[in-house]
Structure formats: structure tokens, C-alpha cells
């Protein structure tokens, strides 16, 4: 009986560990995409701003995936014969959108909103990592509740000026702590209320 109980507890512990492991959270796993799109190439190499493609990120809950039209603003003229880009050309010709694999995906009982984070000075790099060094997209953070809460409890050290939100290489000034605190005030961040369940489960 004790053995049984022990094995139950043991398995639960292991199970709990599995649920929070990189395997289950899919952190750092590269996923299959219809086109091997490289952020490294387009962001670091060509200097494109995130908003050229993820245009809605400042105004809406989602950052979104660029429509085929956006790729074709360049690829109608350059690399027009590249076999890698065949699915893009086919998508434009047939009007069928490309089906990008969603790499960062929350359970549907969680409410998330990009625009508020952008407006209050949380950088893309804080949640998505150095996208500009990724030849293929992968998840940089576990996206667990604990991770959201760690920041919601004390956002100050993770804030930056709004103008630097899209900057992948911004570094805080020497007195980072004081600087974070001034940003909390400047952007009127209501720290005490950010951990209420209804903020993320509505």
C-alpha cells in the first residue's frame, strides 16, 4: 500500500515536472513551416522593422502573421525563381493564405494582449528572445503562468522606453533600477493590480 502511494506521489511529481519541462512547453523547439522564413535574414540582414510585417501589434491584441501580399512587396521582384518561395507565389496566385505554424500559443482560457505591453514599454525581445538571430523561429520563453506573474509582480526591471520596444539590442542605462521605476511612473503602470486572476482569465 505504501509502495502504491509512493509510486502515485512519485509519478505525480514526475508528471508535474514533465508538464513544466521544455518538452511540454515546447520552449526552443523549431517547428515545421510552409516556407523556411528567416528572421535573422530579414531583420538583422535587411534591417526590416517588426511592424513592416507584424503591423497590428501596436493596436490590437494580436501581432498577427503577414499576409502573402506583404512578402510579395519584395518577392514579386527579387528571388522570383527561388524554389523555396514557390509556396508564397502559389498562395498569391490561388488566394489561399499560407498556414504558418503558431509557435507561441497560449491555452484558450488565457487572455493576452500585445498592444498594452507595447504601449507600456515591454520589448518584443523580453518575451520572444533575440528573434534577429533566429534562422528559424522558436519559442524563447515557457509561456507558463509563473513566467507571466514573475513580471506582473514587479515589471520595473523589464521596462524600456516605448521607442526601444522593437529594438533587439537595447540595453538599460547604468542605474537600471531607478530607470525602471521612473518608467513605471511615466507609463502609469498599476503594479498592485496586475496579479489578479481576471487580468489573464476573463
Amino acid at each position: 500500500m505504501i509502495a502504491a502511494a509512493a509510486s502515485v506521489v512519485g509519478l505525480l511529481v514526475v508528471g508535474g515536472g514533465v508538464v513544466r519541462s521544455d518538452y511540454m512547453t515546447r520552449q526552443d523547439v523549431v517547428r515545421e513551416q510552409p516556407v523556411p522564413f528567416s528572421h535573422q535574414h530579414h531583420v538583422a540582414g535587411l534591417g526590416l522593422d517588426c511592424r513592416y510585417c507584424h503591423t497590428s501589434v501596436e493596436e490590437s491584441a494580436t501581432a498577427g502573421f503577414p499576409p502573402t501580399h506583404t512578402c510579395m512587396t519584395c518577392h514579386s521582384q527579387i528571388w522570383t525563381d527561388a524554389p523555396l518561395l514557390e509556396p508564397v507565389r502559389k498562395s498569391l496566385a490561388t488566394g489561399t493564405p499560407l498556414r504558418w505554424t503558431w509557435v507561441n500559443k497560449l491555452p484558450q482560457f488565457v487572455y493576452f494582449n500585445h498592444s498594452i505591453h507595447v504601449a507600456k514599454g515591454v520589448g518584443c525581445v523580453t518575451c520572444h528572445g533575440r528573434v534577429d538571430t533566429m534562422p528559424l523561429m522558436r519559442r524563447a520563453q515557457p509561456l507558463l503562468m509563473q513566467w507571466c506573474l514573475d513580471c506582473h509582480r514587479n515589471p520595473a526591471p523589464n521596462l524600456r522606453p516605448r521607442e526601444a520596444v522593437f529594438d533587439m539590442t537595447w540595453t538599460p542605462p547604468a542605474d537600471a533600477e531607478a530607470f525602471g521605476k521612473t518608467l513605471v511612473e511615466r507609463y502609469h503602470i498599476d503594479v498592485g493590480n496586475l496579479t489578479h486572476c481576471y487580468i489573464c482569465h476573463r
Binding site: A4, L11, L46, Y52, F65, T73, C74
Partner: protein, 181 residues
């Protein structure tokens, strides 16, 4: 006996863990960027039927008819939007030497040509909305108010590359002449 209990216990625990993944992760609702079972083409965000006019759309389009007053805020917005959407090809200077052009995009004309300096604002608004030759439309990404902001900024760029020395403020003139021109 303890052996069998342990196995049973283990199986029970496995069931429990399996149940851990029966959360409300996937719900029977359509989410933006997800896949729809409701529509044949699988798109959640459907295009409106042809000919429909959305609420507020006319007022939105009407902002195109009226040039907003020039202000520092308008120029700052224009600079930001220009750098995001136009500079990859037209370059931050507007001379058409952008990064994508260096990688094989056809060379756009410089904004500092006599023709484009004299072109009316409407021409720029038209090009942003409808595209021009090899350039695609930016209508879906640059809303009407931002189009005006970009035009204002292009005007500032044009001025920056084409100004009489005598028209400069005194300190700027001194610096220029001090630089040994």
C-alpha cells in the same frame, strides 16, 4: 499483492496525469489567426462581401481629402512610419538607395528630383494607396492619417536636400561655412 497495488497505483496515476492535459486549452471557438471549421476556406477572418461599406469607413476615407495642419508631432509620426514602411527601398534619405534595392529591387526614383519636388501631395497619397509600377500598395498597412504624416515627412526630406544656404538659420550657416565649403 504490494506489487499489483503498485502497478494499479501507477496506472491510476498515469490516468491522472493524462487528465492533466484535458484542460480547456482548445475550445470550440474561432480565434483570430486560427483555423475555422465554419467556413469552407478555413479562414476565421472573412473578407466582407463586395460592395459593403463598414461603419466609419467613409469618415476614415474623408480624412484623405483634407490636409492636416503641419506640426512637430505629425512630422515625428511621419518619420517613424516612413522609416518602417518606405526606407527599406527608398532609404532613410529618400534617394532610392535602400537596402532592398541593393539586393536587386528595381531602383525607385529619388524624391529629390525636380519632378517629384513639384509633384502635388495627392500624387504621393495615390502612390501609397494604389502602388506604382513595381511598387505594391501600402493601403492595408498605412491608414489615411499616417499617409498624410508620411507625405509631410517626405516634404521635410525634400527641403533638407534642397535649400539655399542663405535660408539657413544663422548658427547652421556658420557651422556649414566653418566646415570649409
Amino acid at each position: 499483492m504490494t506489487g499489483r497495488a503498485a502497478v494499479l497505483g501507477a496506472l491510476g496515476a498515469l490516468l491522472l496525469i493524462a487528465a492533466c492535459d484535458q484542460r480547456m486549452i482548445k475550445q470550440d471557438k474561432d480565434i483570430v489567426w486560427g483555423e475555422s471549421k465554419l467556413f469552407e476556406d478555413g479562414k476565421v477572418v472573412q473578407a466582407p462581401p463586395p460592395g459593403t461599406v463598414a461603419r466609419g469607413e467613409l469618415a476614415y476615407e474623408a480624412t484623405l481629402g483634407e490636409r492636416p495642419a503641419m506640426s512637430a508631432a505629425l512630422l515625428a509620426r511621419g518619420q517613424e512610419r516612413f522609416d518602417i514602411f518606405c526606407s527599406p527601398c527608398h532609404s532613410r534619405l529618400g534617394d532610392g538607395e535602400g537596402m532592398i534595392v541593393q539586393r536587386g529591387m528595381p531602383h525607385p526614383p529619388s524624391f529629390h528630383s525636380q519632378r517629384l519636388r513639384e509633384a502635388p501631395d495627392e500624387h504621393f497619397l495615390q502612390v501609397i494607396a494604389n502602388g506604382y509600377g513595381a511598387m505594391y500598395s501600402y493601403a492595408s498597412r498605412v491608414p489615411p492619417t499616417d499617409r498624410w504624416a508620411i507625405v509631410a515627412y517626405i516634404r521635410a526630406l525634400q527641403l533638407s536636400q534642397n535649400v539655399e544656404v542663405a535660408a539657413l538659420p544663422a548658427d547652421a550657416r556658420e557651422r556649414l561655412e566653418g566646415a570649409g565649403r
